[in-house]
Symmetry: C2
Subunit: 469 residues, 2 copies
């Protein structure tokens, strides 16, 4: 990388564009706030940007990026910083562009079941705004209360409902993007179908802020499913929980949630939240299964079918959540596993994904590798998608063991994923921390194509440099 | 373009690769069959390839393409030749690679609800094979009985069920592709989620055979919906039919089919098929509405809601198809509109698409433009997607009027689409015949990005040259 240092003249130019109060530096009045922009939710990593900019709109971002393009200054776009792969870390310093002020829901178009929003809108804020109009935006990462839609687009975030409704990419119709040259484009049209040229929209989604900065999004929406049923199913054998996942789908049922939690995941989270939960000694894993739709009778019929499937496994007493409070508590437990693990220890989160029927083999493999290399892991995740989050706990590991010693076992976990038809990230992205492993998932020919695409979009190599490959 | 002529040495090399009987030329024993490979279903266009090759597998295609790459020979990949934008026409002559012998369903994986297939499999053959196992592959273009899955991938074909289930691209997990250099890659992994590098899969889908030749596909599948209800709704006012489309969705219903047919579309097709259909004088358009699911009672409840919505419009007597034969006849009428128009006259098909609530404005605009320029059009299509097929009838238009005079009115139709938030192709692609209009939909910055991507994949510019842009 051949970046240039940030000059005082450029900082002045940025102040002209975004206003003095939206330029943060290590020595400015908001130095403490500034420091937060050097971190995200990935382990305990920190990189200091030279300057943090908080522009108000696409035009300001375009002007900033054009200046950085002309002066070879690295630019790292940033949503809420809840990412788990280090994608928002400014590892080459330079400029961080925060989208926090691009936080408007511009239009909810009830005639077309579409919405136009800015990338800094919090996922849950958007969900609640469309729900108020009877509409549904399904992608709901665990961090939905704090993560932004722009960050969700960067990784095509999923969440529990992805199993029935797909991930972020399945709801994007059109994107307004500032390219790494400063040019401002729309990628497509506001239509459900589009066969007009290459799909720049889907290329942008999941590109982790390396091909452009998204400044507006047109999402498609669904009618809101009015009813749901939630059940917590305890399993005496951990692998049977993983096997039952596939069996439910084979019975013709598509749940709106199908979450796997091993014993420690649910125990740590309920402790962390101080929600009392009875966990008999012989229970080693749980499935949290949600069914949704417009008709409660129909859902109860489906629930019967799920019970029939579960009858083939060694399960404990199923908890059927029958009121909103109980449902909410169960989902809070599931959503806070990550936080509870973080509260207990520094950890590395691996976002493994395989075809769903291979989940028992993956889980067994992870535990075997852990036993062999002497580390503990807490496993949970979106079992319906074959997406298992493996949290490797630092515990008593020393720096050498933590920073170097884990490379080999993590490689072995990822090699197992690929062998099973899977890959190394389902929804968290490659970012910084998985970059060293991407060769396990993708051969050099694929990576060369990606590097070529990167050069087409970003000839100066300034946008989120050092990420993915 | 700086292509080299095909030498006898290269033809011999091709014979070595695919076998003598699978190399077709103008002078060979199968000269008549050979001629078919110069046409598709687009108007009355014809371009003669130098040679047609019918390889058996990915490895043979890789060898052929590598030779063509080294010798600068244009290569045009071809499925069944049912395309409507001229995408499979070998306009620079050279080599046509037909995928017809790559016609194996390699695996239907009931554990993972996935299937691995070759691109030359006929859409309907695949649908029926998975249905026999209780599984569902929704994309079903009107030509499903003859079109191939590879062709469907080239344009991300839709069909009636796209309104609920999405288009071809929504079912693709992973693609095996021969790149224009001859390299053979898999684009992704066999997983429902993937956040590992740029999305080469979705870049390949819809690229109309210009970035690579797809040689294997992994599709995801759904449980087969066991029940459906089909209704044919006659409207006295054509624009009310278009308006009712949006109203049904706003009522919270997602039909599995929502097809619009103006009077002439349905009349021509039922005549063509010799299926008697009563069409009262005052009926000017129809909607064909399908609801599907696992529970018939639930569907009847939904049908009641649809009736409630229709009550706000000036409709004739609704025909509720109550047996398989009647349903089949109605769908045959819908699917054969294109054939019936082709039977009556040469025509140009414009694949307009807009946000669905804008459909009445588009339809009105198309008719106004036709009246102003003196051409007749037959309009029908996937109204639930805002995708209106405008068939411009040649009728008595002379060569000048047909080849030159229509350019201005077609441009005006496309400009109207873009003004309404839409674009110029929803599912047929740009190919050859819409290439001149792509600037209406996409600004030069977007086209430059696409050209750059093309150069990354195809540095010699040999693969399906002269298409899209």
């Amino acid at each position: 990388m051949n970046f240039q240092p940030l000059t005082p003249e450029l900082v002045s130019a940025f102040e002209q564009i975004v206003g003095h109060q939206h330029v943060l530096t290590a020595h400015g009045v908001e130095a403490e706030i500034y420091a937060d922009y050097g971190r995200d939710h990935t382990e305990d990593l920190h990189f200091a940007p030279d300057v943090v900019l908080r522009p108000a709109n696409a035009e300001e971002i375009s002007q900033i990026v054009r200046l950085c393009y002309e002066h070879h200054i690295p630019v790292t776009p940033r949503g809420a910083g809840t990412g788990l792969s280090g994608g928002a870390l400014p590892i080459h310093n330079g400029v961080v562009i925060s989208t926090e002020r691009l936080n408007k829901i511009i239009e909810i178009d009830e005639r077309n079941l579409q919405a136009t929003v800015e990338p800094g809108v919090i996922n849950q804020v958007f969900q609640e705004a469309v729900q108020a109009k009877g509409l549904f935006y399904p992608p709901d990462p665990a961090s939905k209360g704090s993560c932004t839609l722009g960050g969700n687009l960067a990784h095509s975030s999923g969440g529990p409902k992805a199993v029935k409704y797909g991930t972020t990419r399945d709801y994007v119709l059109n994107l307004q993007v500032v390219l790494p040259t400063g040019d401002l484009i729309w990628t497509a049209a506001n239509t459900l179908k589009n066969s007009t040229g290459y799909n720049l929209t889907q290329l942008m989604v999941g590109s982790e802020g390396t091909l452009g900065i998204i400044t507006k999004v047109v999402f498609r929406l669904l009618p809101y499913p009015q009813q749901n049923i939630l059940m917590l199913v305890p399993f005496r054998q951990i692998e049977q929980a993983a096997e039952a996942v596939s069996a439910v789908f084979r019975a013709g049922i598509i749940p709106s949630g199908m979450e796997f939690m091993e014993r420690e995941a649910i125990a740590w989270s309920s402790d962390y939240l101080q929600i009392p939960l009875t966990l008999p000694e012989d229970i080693h894993a749980h499935l949290l299964i949600e069914l949704d739709g417009q008709d409660l009778d129909e859902l109860y019929k489906e629930a019967e079918q799920v019970y029939d499937v579960l009858g083939h496994y060694d399960v404990g007493e199923v908890l059927l959540a029958d009121n909103a409070t109980q449902k909410d508590e169960l989902w809070r437990i599931r959503r806070n596993i990550g936080n509870s693990v973080r509260y207990n220890s520094v950890y590395k989160e691996e976002d493994t994904v395989v075809p769903r029927a291979e989940l028992p083999i993956l889980l067994k493999g992870v535990k075997e590798i852990g036993a062999r290399y002497g580390f503990k892991s807490v496993c949970y995740g979106h079992a319906g998608d074959g997406n298992l989050h493996v949290n490797i706990i630092r515990g008593d590991l020393n720096d050498e063991q933590w920073n170097v010693g884990l490379r080999q076992p993590i490689s072995e976990i990822f090699e197992l994923c690929v062998k099973l038809g899977g890959t190394i990230s389902g929804e968290h992205g490659i970012g910084l921390v998985q970059k060293g492993y991407i060769g396990i998932a993708l051969p050099e020919v694929n990576l060369d194509l990606m590097r070529g695409i990167k050069r087409v979009f970003d000839p100066a190599g300034i946008l989120n440099p050092g990420k993915i490959f």
